[in-house]
C-alpha cells in the first residue's frame, strides 16, 4: 500500500503531460485494441472521455462512472450521464472540448468519429482506445476490454457472466422453436429502410429465433411498399429512436394491406430501439424482448421487460 502511494506521489508531481509522446509519464499498463493501436496508461484514477453513448453506459455499468470527465451528446443512460460535460457528438466530437478536459484516455467505437479527429487527439498525446462491438460476442468482449482498462475486471466478468447466462436461456428456448417466422425489420419510415445480412440487427433477429426476409448485402437497403409486399413477411417489427404516434400511423398503414401475412397474423409490432442497437449490457435485455415478441409462447415464463 505504501509503495503504491509513493508511486502515486511521484507520478502526480510530474509536470502536466502535454507533449506528443505518450509514454513519458511512467505509464505502467499497456493495452492493444482491435485496430492494433497500443496505449499506455498510468496506474492511477484516470480521467476518461467517452466518445459514444454506448461506452458511457458500459462505464457506468462497470461502476466507473466517476472516472468520466466528458461524454458525447446523446449519452443519456443512465440518468447520471446527462449531467456530464458534453464534447460534441458521436460522429463529430469536438477536439477542443476534449483537449481542454485533459483526459488520460479516450474510449471510442470503430466507425464512429472521423479518423482525422482520432489522429489529432493522438497528436495531442491523448491515448485513444477503440472497441469494435459489431456482434453480440464482440459486445461482450468490449465490456471485458473496458473493464480491463478501467481496473474493473471483476465487475466486467460479473456482467458478462450474467449476460452469458441470459443468452444461454434464450438460445435454448429458441432452439426448440418449431418455426422461425419471416420477419421484416423496419428501421426507416420514409423511405422504408430495413437491415441486411451483415448487420448487428440481423444477428439479433436470428438469435431471437426469427428469419430476416431481407438477405441483401447492403447493410441498410431501401424498399418500396411493393417490394415489402412481395417479400410477404409473417411479422413486421418497426423500431424507433423514441416512442412516437407516428409509428401507430405506420402500423395502421400496413394493416391496410390484408394480403400481408403479418397483417393476417396480427403481428405488427413497434419497439423501442434503445436496447436493440446500442452495444451495451442492456442488449441482452433487448434480445430477450425481441425473442419474447417473436415466440411469445416459449417465453411466457422467462419474460424480461
Amino acid at each position: 500500500m505504501r509503495y503504491r502511494a509513493l508511486t502515486l506521489a511521484i507520478l502526480i508531481s510530474l509536470p502536466v503531460f502535454f507533449s506528443g509522446v505518450s509514454d513519458s509519464h511512467g505509464g505502467e499498463r499497456t493495452f492493444t485494441d482491435t485496430t492494433g493501436c497500443t496505449i499506455s496508461l498510468p496506474d492511477r484514477p484516470l480521467r476518461v472521455v467517452s466518445l459514444a453513448p454506448s461506452i458511457t453506459e458500459i462505464v457506468f455499468a462497470l461502476g466507473k462512472g466517476p472516472l468520466l470527465v466528458g461524454v458525447t451528446r446523446y449519452s443519456d443512460y443512465p440518468e447520471k450521464a446527462k449531467m456530464l460535460p458534453r464534447v460534441g457528438s458521436y460522429i463529430r466530437p469536438e477536439l477542443e472540448s476534449i483537449v481542454t478536459l485533459k483526459p488520460d484516455l479516450c474510449l471510442t467505437v470503430e466507425d464512429g468519429p472521423p479518423k482525422k479527429t482520432i489522429e489529432r487527439l493522438k497528436a495531442f498525446g491523448i491515448p485513444v482506445y477503440t472497441v469494435n462491438p459489431d456482434s453480440i460476442d464482440t459486445i461482450l468482449r468490449s465490456i471485458q476490454e473496458i473493464g480491463d482498462i478501467l481496473d474493473a475486471k471483476n465487475t466486467a466478468a460479473a456482467i458478462t457472466d450474467k449476460m452469458g447466462a441470459q443468452l444461454t436461456v434464450i438460445d435454448r428456448a429458441v432452439a426448440e422453436a418449431p418455426h422461425k417466422p419471416d420477419i421484416f425489420f423496419q428501421i426507416g419510415i420514409s423511405p422504408i429502410v430495413s437491415v441486411g445480412k451483415n448487420t448487428f440487427l440481423d444477428e439479433m433477429i436470428q438469435r431471437a429465433g426469427g428469419t430476416n426476409v431481407v438477405t441483401s448485402d447492403t447493410p441498410y437497403p431501401r424498399f418500396s411498399k411493393e417490394q415489402v409486399l412481395a417479400l410477404a413477411p409473417e411479422m413486421i417489427i418497426i423500431t424507433s429512436m423514441a416512442r412516437n404516434d407516428i409509428f401507430e400511423v405506420v402500423k395502421k398503414d400496413w394493416e391496410s394491406w390484408p394480403s400481408l401475412p403479418a397483417v393476417r397474423n396480427k403481428r405488427i409490432h413497434v419497439v423501442d430501439s434503445d436496447t436493440l442497437d446500442r452495444p451495451t449490457p442492456r442488449v441482452v435485455d433487448g434480445l430477450a424482448m425481441l425473442a419474447a415478441l417473436i415466440h411469445p409462447t416459449l417465453f411466457a415464463e422467462a419474460h424480461h421487460e
Partner: protein, 340 residues
C-alpha cells in the same frame, strides 16, 4: 481617384490605406477568433501567447496554435477566395449576381466529393482530390460549351455554368438517393461547409495553391476595370479579351476549387462581400482585389467565430451564419443605393 467614395487620394495611397484599414479589422477578427472556444471568448490566453508570457498555460497555447489557429486561417482563406472569386466573376460576366460557384464549380466539386465519399475515400486527400477533379471537369465543360467570344460570349458562359450546375444537382440528388445512412452524414457535412477538420499542413497546402492566384488576379485588375464597360470597349482599349478571360477564369476557378475541396460549400460570401466593398470603396478593381482578399477574410473569420460562440452547445454551420449576416447587409446596401 474618386471623391464620392470613402478614402480619397492617389491610387497607390488609396490601395495601401484601404488594405491597411481592412487588415486591422482582419487582425482584430483573428485575435477574437483565436480567443473563441467552446466555453466562450477568453482573450487572456491569446494575449499570453502573443506576448510570450512565461506563465502561459501550455495546454491553452497548444489549443490555440493547433486547433484554433488552423481553423481561423482556413476561414480567412475561405473568405478571401470566395470574395475575390465573386468579384472576378462579377466583372468577367458583367453581372452583379455572379458568384464564385456560378460557372459550375460548386456542382462539379460537390459531385466529385460525393463520389469520393461513396467510394470510401478519406476526406483528405481522397475526397479533396475527387472534388477538385470534379470542379475542373465542369470548368472545362463550361469553357468548351461557351466557346467563342462573340457578343453573346458572356451570356453563353453564364448559361453554360447554370446548366452545368443544374445537371450536377441532378446527379447529386441521384447519388444521395442511392447512398446509405452513414455515408449520408458525411455528404451532408461536406455540403454544408466545414472548417473544423483543418490542420496546419492542410492550411499550408491551401496557401500554396491560392496565393499565386491572388497575384495573377491582381495583375489583371486594371483589365477588369476596362471590361466593366463591355467587351468591345475593353478590346478597343487594348485588352485581349480572350487571353484575359481565360487567365482570370482559370486562376479564379482553380483557387475556388482548391478552397471548396478543403472546406465544402459556403454560400453568400462571394456574392455579398464584393458588393459591400464596392459600395464603400468604389469600382476600381486595383483597390477591390486586395480589399476583397483582406475584407472577405475578415468577414469569414468573424462568421466562423460567431458560429462557434453563439450556440450553447456545438457549433452552427458557418454557411448559415454567412447567410444570416450577409442577406440583411446586402438588402441594407441596396436600399441605401436606391435612395442616393
Amino acid at each position: 481617384m474618386s471623391n464620392t467614395h470613402f478614402i480619397e487620394g492617389r491610387l497607390v495611397q488609396r490601395i495601401f490605406l484601404i488594405t491597411g484599414l481592412l487588415s486591422v479589422v482582419l487582425a482584430l477578427a483573428i485575435i477574437l477568433g483565436l480567443a473563441t472556444g467552446p466555453s466562450g471568448i477568453g482573450l487572456e490566453p491569446v494575449w499570453d501567447l502573443l506576448t510570450g508570457s512565461a506563465d502561459a498555460d501550455g495546454l491553452q497555447n497548444a489549443i490555440i496554435e493547433r486547433i484554433r489557429l488552423p481553423r481561423v486561417l482556413m476561414a480567412l482563406f475561405c473568405g478571401a477566395v470566395l470574395s475575390l472569386g465573386g468579384l472576378v466573376f462579377q466583372a468577367l460576366l458583367g453581372n452583379p449576381l455572379a458568384e464564385p460557384y456560378i460557372l459550375g464549380i460548386s456542382g462539379g466539386a460537390a459531385t466529385g466529393a460525393i463520389i469520393g465519399i461513396l467510394a470510401g475515400f478519406a476526406r483528405v486527400p481522397g475526397v479533396s482530390a475527387t472534388a477538385f477533379a470534379g470542379s475542373m471537369t465542369t470548368l472545362f465543360l463550361v469553357i468548351v460549351l461557351s466557346k467563342g467570344e462573340s457578343q453573346a460570349g458572356r451570356d453563353a458562359m453564364l448559361l453554360s455554368g447554370v446548366m452545368v450546375n443544374a445537371f450536377c444537382s441532378a446527379i447529386i440528388m441521384f447519388l444521395i438517393s442511392i447512398s446509405e445512412e452513414n455515408k449520408l452524414h458525411d455528404i451532408m457535412f461536406w455540403l454544408m461547409g466545414d472548417l473544423s477538420s483543418a490542420d496546419m499542413p492542410q492550411v499550408g497546402m491551401v496557401a500554396l495553391l491560392i496565393l499565386p492566384c491572388f497575384a495573377v488576379i491582381f495583375l489583371c485588375s486594371h483589365k477588369m476595370n476596362l471590361m466593366l464597360m463591355g467587351r468591345e470597349m475593353a478590346r478597343t482599349m487594348g485588352v485581349s479579351i480572350r487571353k484575359t478571360t481565360f487567365i482570370l477564369l482559370v486562376a479564379t476557378s482553380f483557387m475556388v476549387s482548391a478552397m471548396v475541396c478543403q472546406s465544402g460549400l459556403m454560400g453568400f460570401v462571394g456574392l455579398v462581400v464584393p458588393h459591400i466593398l464596392r459600395q464603400i470603396f468604389g469600382s476600381d478593381h486595383r483597390v477591390l482585389v486586395p480589399a476583397s482578399i483582406v475584407g472577405g477574410g475578415a468577414f469569414m473569420v468573424i462568421c466562423d467565430l460567431l458560429a462557434r460562440w453563439l450556440p450553447r452547445e456545438g457549433e452552427i454551420p458557418v454557411g448559415v451564419i454567412t447567410a444570416i449576416i450577409g442577406a440583411p447587409l446586402f438588402i441594407m446596401l441596396l436600399r441605401r443605393r436606391a435612395r442616393s
